[in-house]
C-alpha cells in the first residue's frame, strides 16, 4: 500500500472554504446574502404553490372572510358581541378571553409557586413534605387531565340554579357559575376614582420619603396613620359630597337561570385553577433552585445582622435568586399562555375554541386561520419575553451587574 501525497488545495477551493466559514470579509458576506436569498425563495415558493393549488381546487382563500357575519354566540364576552357581528370581532372576543385566563393564571401560579417553594425550603418537616408532595403529584399528571378533573369536580359539587347556594341574598353559586352584584357607575364615579388615584400616589410618595429619611439619616418615621388617613379619607370625602359612586344590580332567578348582575362562568374557574396549580408546581421548583443557588453564607449573614428569616429571604436572598429564576420563569409564563388553548375541552371560549375552532369549520379557511392563530401566540410569547427581559435587565442593573 502506497501513501499518495495529497496535492495542496487550489486557490479557488481555499477561497470557497473561507467563504463558507464566513468569518469575515466580502466573500463570507456574499455567501450569507445568497443563503438568505435561497431561504426567501423557498418560503415564497411554498406560499405561491399553496395558493395556486388552493385556487385550482377552488378552495376559498384570502382574508375577506373576516368581514362576514359570524352568526353564532359565545358564552363569555369581555367586549360587546352578538351573533350578528363579524369574524374579526369573534377573533378579538377569543383573544380577550385567552388574555384574561393567561394573566390571571400567571398571577396565581406565581403566588402559589413562591409559597410552595418557601414551604419546601422550610425547616418545618411536615410543611416541607406537603409542599414536596404537591410538586411531585401536580407536575407529573397531564395538564389536560387536570383541567377536565377540576371542571367535572367543580361542576359535580355545585347545585342546579333552583337550589343555588346563596350568600347574603346577593351572591349566588350554582352550576351556571358564580353570580355577583354588578357595579353600575353613578355620576360621582369619576371624581371618586380620581380621589382614589391621588390617595395612592400620596401614600407612595410618603413611603419613599420615609425610606429616604431612613437610608440617608437613619431616622425611622411613623407614617402608617397618615397613609391610612389619606387612603380612606379622600375617597370618603368625595363620595359624601357627590353621593355613592356605585350602585349594584343584584342577580335574580328568572326561568332557568339568574338574570342581572355579573357572573364568573365555571369553565373560567376550572381552567384558571388547573393552569395555575399546574404551572405553580414548576415555578416552585424554579424558585427553590434559585434560592438554593444563593450561597448559604448570605442567609447566615442576614441572621447575624439580626434580621428575621422572612426579612433575610425578602431583602437579601430572593433579589439575588431572581437572576437565576427569571429565564425559566419566563418559559413557564409562556407555557401557561399556550396551555390555555386546551380550553376547548371544557367549553371555555378562548381564541382556539371560537376562532380556530368554530370560525375555521364555518369558513373552511384553515391555512389563513391557523396562520393568524400561530402569529397571535408568537406575538403574545414575544411580548411576555420582552417584559420579562426588561425586568431582568433592570434587576441586574440594580444589583450592580451591568
Amino acid at each position: 500500500m502506497t501513501i499518495e501525497s495529497r496535492p495542496p488545495p487550489p486557490q479557488f477551493v481555499a477561497k470557497l472554504r473561507r467563504a463558507l466559514g464566513g468569518r469575515a470579509g466580502w466573500s463570507g458576506f456574499v455567501f450569507q446574502i445568497l443563503f438568505t436569498a435561497a431561504l426567501i425563495w423557498i418560503g415564497y415558493e411554498i406560499v405561491a404553490n399553496a395558493r395556486a393549488n388552493l385556487q385550482s381546487q377552488r378552495i376559498a382563500s384570502g382574508f375577506g372572510f373576516l368581514d362576514n357575519t359570524a352568526g353564532f354566540d359565545v358564552s363569555q364576552t369581555l367586549i360587546p358581541y352578538s351573533g350578528s357581528d363579524t369574524y374579526t370581532r369573534v377573533f378579538f372576543v377569543g383573544l380577550a378571553n385567552t388574555l384574561l385566563v393567561s394573566v390571571i393564571g400567571i398571577f396565581f401560579a406565581t403566588v402559589i409557586g413562591f409559597i410552595v417553594a418557601l414551604g419546601r425550603l422550610s425547616p418545618n418537616w411536615l410543611l416541607a413534605r406537603i409542599a414536596g408532595a404537591y410538586v411531585e403529584v401536580i407536575r407529573n399528571l397531564p395538564v389536560l387531565f387536570q383541567i377536565l378533573f377540576w371542571y367535572l369536580a367543580v361542576l359535580a359539587a355545585l347545585p342546579n340554579p333552583r337550589q343555588s347556594i346563596s350568600v347574603f341574598g346577593s351572591f349566588f353559586l350554582n352550576s351556571r357559575g358564580l353570580f355577583i352584584p354588578q357595579p353600575i357607575a353613578n355620576p360621582g364615579f369619576l371624581p371618586f376614582a380620581i380621589a382614589v388615584l391621588v390617595a395612592i400616589i400620596v401614600a407612595l410618595g410618603l413611603r419613599s420619603y420615609a425610606r429616604q429619611q431612613l437610608f440617608a439619616h437613619g431616622r425611622v418615621l411613623l407614617i402608617w396613620p397618615y397613609v391610612l388617613g389619606v387612603l380612606i379619607g379622600l375617597p370618603l370625602i368625595t363620595s359624601l359630597l357627590l353621593g355613592a359612586p356605585l350602585t349594584f344590580e343584584f342577580p335574580q332567578l328568572k326561568g332557568f337561570n339568574f338574570a342581572g348582575g355579573s357572573r364568573v362562568i365555571p369553565e373560567f374557574v376550572a381552567l384558571t385553577l388547573a393552569l395555575s396549580l399546574y404551572t405553580a408546581a414548576f415555578i416552585a421548583e424554579i424558585v427553590r433552585a434559585g434560592i438554593q443557588s444563593v450561597h448559604k453564607g448570605q442567609m447566615e449573614a442576614g441572621a447575624s445582622l439580626g434580621l428575621s428569616r422572612g426579612a433575610t429571604l425578602r431583602l437579601i436572598v430572593v433579589p439575588q435568586a431572581m437572576r437565576v429564576i427569571l429565564p425559566p420563569l419566563t418559559s413557564q409564563y409562556l407555557n401557561l399562555t399556550k396551555n390555555s388553548s386546551l380550553a376547548v375541552a371544557i367549553g371555555y371560549p378562548d381564541l382556539v375554541s371560537v376562532f380556530t375552532g368554530t370560525t375555521l369549520s364555518q369558513t373552511g379557511q384553515a391555512v389563513e386561520i391557523i396562520a393568524i392563530t400561530m402569529g397571535v401566540y408568537l406575538l403574545l410569547s414575544l411580548v411576555t419575553s420582552a417584559i420579562m427581559n426588561f425586568y431582568g435587565w433592570r434587576l441586574s442593573r440594580s444589583l450592580g451587574n451591568t
Binding site: 411554498i46 404553490n49 399553496a50 393549488n53 388552493l54 385550482s56 381546487q57 377552488r58 378552495i59 376559498a60 352568526g71 353564532f72 354566540d73 359565545v74 358564552s75 351573533g83 371542571y151 367535572l152 361542576l155 359535580a156 355545585l158 342546579n160 352550576s175 351556571r176 328568572k254 326561568g255 332557568f256 337561570n257 338574570a259 365555571p266 369553565e267 388553548s341 386546551l342 376547548v344 375541552a345 371544557i346 367549553g347 371560549p349 382556539v352 375554541s353 371560537v354 380556530t356 375552532g357 368554530t358 375555521l360 369549520s361 364555518q362 369558513t363 373552511g364 379557511q365 384553515a366 391555512v367 391557523i370
Partner: protein
C-alpha cells in the same frame, strides 16, 4: 385535536403540490389497496367502533360499499376518526379519499371547501334533548336556558338563529368533542343538549338513565347528511355518488342481501342492466360490471342498512320517516340505473 388540525394544515399548505395530481383518486386507491375513509370519533348508528374495534354504522357502510365495488372486499377500508372541526382539512389535504361523517350539506360547504357532496345518506334535522325533570314540553319554553353544543358544526348557527327569531335569550357552551359535550350536559352545566335528532337519540343511549331525558318535538333545521369528495375528480365523484344511488335503487327493486344471487339470474331487462348481464354500466363508472351485486352482498340495500344501523333492528330504533323511499311516503329517491 389541536395538533391534528395543525398537521393537516401544514400538509395542506406545503403538500398541496402532490395534490394537483388528485384527478386520479380511483387509481390511487386501487394502487394503495385500501380506501381511506374519514368518519366520526364514535357516533352510534353512523360510525362507531364496537368492542372488537370493528366500525359499524350508516356512514361506515357507505365506505364499505365503495371498497366492495373497487376491491370486491368491504374490509379494505382504513377508517380515520375525525373531530367535527378537523374533517374538511383532512379531506382537502388528501389524508382521506371520502369524508363520510354525518356532515350536513350546505351551500357554503359545497363551494368554498373545495369539495362536493355526493348525495344524502340520511335526512336529519336539529333538535333539543332536555331532562324530563325540567318539565319542558316545547323548545319555545327554553328562554334563558344554558345550551351545550359541539363546536365546528352547523348546530351553533342554527341555534343562534332559532333563539334570535323567537326573541329568547340563552347561553351557549361549545365543546370540542361530542363526548365532552354530553358529559357537561349530564353533569348539569346545561339545561339542554342540542344536535341533529339522530345524534340526540344515539347520545341518549350513553347517558346513565336514558329514560330521564326527552327529545323535544321541534326540529329547527334541515340537516341532509351525506358523504363528500374533493373537487377536481369527476370520475371519483360519480363513483361515490352512484354507490349510494345503487343502494336506494336496489331497495326500490326489491334486491336484498338474501335474494341478490337469484335476482342476478333474472331476465327482466331492468335487472339485467343493474347486474351488468346486459350492457357495461359498471365499466362506464370505471369499475366492474357486477358492481351492484358487490355492494348488496357487502352491505345490503339502503333499507337493510338503515334498519341494521339506526332503525328497528338497532338499539336506536329511529323510524324511517323522511328516509323512507319516495314511493312509500319518504323522500329517498335515486336516479335510475340505465
Amino acid at each position: 385535536m389541536k395538533r391534528v388540525s395543525l398537521v393537516f394544515t401544514l400538509a395542506l399548505a406545503a403538500g398541496l403540490s402532490t395534490q394537483i395530481a388528485s384527478a386520479q383518486t380511483l387509481k390511487t386507491v386501487t394502487d394503495r389497496g385500501m380506501l381511506s375513509c374519514g368518519v366520526s370519533q364514535g357516533l352510534p348508528g353512523f360510525s362507531a367502533p364496537d368492542d372488537k374495534g370493528n366500525w359499524t354504522g350508516i356512514d361506515v357502510d357507505v365506505c364499505r360499499a365503495v371498497a366492495a365495488v373497487i376491491f370486491n372486499d368491504p374490509s379494505k377500508v382504513k377508517f380515520v376518526p375525525l373531530s367535527a372541526k378537523d374533517r374538511f382539512t383532512a379531506l382537502q389535504s388528501g389524508e382521506i379519499d371520502v369524508l363520510s361523517r354525518n356532515t350536513t350539506w350546505t351551500l357554503s360547504r359545497d363551494t368554498s371547501l373545495g369539495a362536493n357532496f355526493t348525495g344524502v345518506t340520511y335526512y336529519d334535522g336539529q333538535g333539543f334533548l332536555v331532562k324530563k325533570s325540567l318539565k319542558v314540553n316545547s323548545a319555545l319554553e327554553l328562554n334563558s336556558a344554558s345550551v351545550c353544543v359541539q363546536t365546528g358544526t352547523t348546530t351553533e348557527q342554527n341555534l343562534a338563529d332559532y333563539f334570535k327569531s323567537n326573541n329568547m335569550k340563552y347561553e351557549v357552551i361549545a365543546f370540542g368533542t361530542a363526548d365532552e359535550t354530553v358529559k357537561a350536559y349530564e353533569s348539569g352545566r346545561c339545561d339542554v343538549f342540542t344536535s341533529d335528532v339522530s345524534q340526540l337519540y344515539a347520545e341518549r343511549l350513553k347517558l346513565a338513565n336514558p329514560a330521564d331525558h326527552a327529545v323535544l318535538p321541534e326540529v329547527i333545521s334541515k340537516e341532509p347528511l351525506g358523504p363528500m369528495v374533493r373537487h377536481g375528480d369527476d370520475q371519483w365523484f360519480d363513483l361515490v355518488k352512484w354507490v349510494l344511488f345503487a343502494m336506494v335503487d336496489a331497495e326500490e327493486l326489491g334486491i336484498t342481501q338474501k335474494n341478490v344471487d337469484d335476482m342476478a339470474k333474472s331476465d327482466k331487462p331492468e335487472l339485467k342492466r343493474v347486474f351488468g348481464t346486459d350492457g357495461n354500466l359498471g365499466e362506464q363508472l370505471g369499475v366492474t360490471k357486477d358492481w351492484v351485486s358487490r355492494i348488496i352482498k357487502a352491505t345490503g340495500n339502503y333499507g337493510e342498512m338503515f334498519d341494521r344501523n339506526v332503525g328497528a333492528g338497532s338499539k336506536l330504533g329511529i323510524a324511517r320517516g323522511l328516509n323512507q323511499l319516495w314511493n312509500k311516503g319518504g323522500i329517498q329517491y335515486a336516479p335510475p340505473i340505465r
